[in-house]
Symmetry: C2
Subunit: 194 residues, 2 copies
Amino acid sequence: MLKAVQSRTLKTRAKLIAAAEAVIEENGYEAMRVEEVVLRAGVAKGTFFAHFPDKEELMDQLIGARIDTCLDQIAKAPTPQTITDMVDALMPLVAFMSCERYVFDVIFRHSGAATIDKTGVIAMTFEHQAKIVSAWLKDSPFRRDVTPDLLAEGIQAFLMQAIALNFCALHCEFAMRDRIVQYLQAWLAPDIRA
Amino acid sequence: MLKAVQSRTLKTRAKLIAAAEAVIEENGYEAMRVEEVVLRAGVAKGTFFAHFPDKEELMDQLIGARIDTCLDQIAKAPTPQTITDMVDALMPLVAFMSCERYVFDVIFRHSGAATIDKTGVIAMTFEHQAKIVSAWLKDSPFRRDVTPDLLAEGIQAFLMQAIALNFCALHCEFAMRDRIVQYLQAWLAPDIRA
DNA sequence: TCCATTAATTGACCGTGGTCACTTTATTGA
DNA sequence: TCAATAAAGTGACCACGGTCAATTAATGGA
């Protein structure tokens, strides 16, 4: 008998999420304040923390949802056959992940499951992304001396690296794309004859 | 005529850094509180922020110094000739970088130069590390189809990835080392004949 | 219908990083 | 030697995430 969740609860949570989305829409993720959210939702501050263990948890859900949208789009498209196609397929995701330094930091902190039982939304999107990319690689013209899973993990590492470097000095999306292409070329299609 | 720095300034700064190191020694980086530091240093809170733009800046210096110590040790040792030797050479650095989740996050946030002119201590250690590894690779039995600089960048990406994953679920150093070896094997010595 | 029990909500309060107008101390030049 | 000027230091104050004992609302018998 663990039936207990009241409809009131759902309504309050929905109000909080809607308010947060509105605030973010106006001023971006970094500028989101818990006080502003509860004010707009018309509830007390304590209520927020009754629904989310901390501010980051809400961020995890909101940012995770956005990533999932990107991934659904990516999964829908045909399997890329070249590295540049692959990079271009991933670019919408990369663009969102690098839209704000704060967003990138949150994603980074949540990119792995904190514990076995408590996997966050963002952590799940990373597994999802790895699955998509791994599936691409299962039947691809790229290297086969290591597993698609490992290659997918490596791609994630390179994406994070490219985005991190992109936040340094200048914030130019073209340089980032070129860097990713370079990384994935070396990672997916090494040419050891040279 | 931009001669102005008083000896008092140096003394105060030294007191602050010493106090911070003492606090960290006792309770770890994450537990460091600015109030505790200024209390021990015998100065007012405002003085702290006259010397460091924010708490993270002090962390950058303290953590950066520790990383530099690791790198000096690494640079002193003979050039590793196998991948496992290379990983073992890097492990002291990896061990420090993963000693606390908080430390890793600070390192991550500061791993790149924020702007051209204002490069932090940690950011400089990353360049330093890349140089060391790149030098190893210049005369190595590993792949030569891409530049040593690119390989070094990739190694950094894989180290960060391995440490990040290691914070998930369980915090076991052996698994981390194995993962790094696997990554670097695939990165440095691809076998596309397979 | 009413009461007992559990769930949801509240808001005063706290911890901690960071600010800034003001005070104190050092330096410079006549 | 002594203002005038600049540098260093101060601490009350603020912003904001997070806590918790108390309060209010919902639920399920009898």
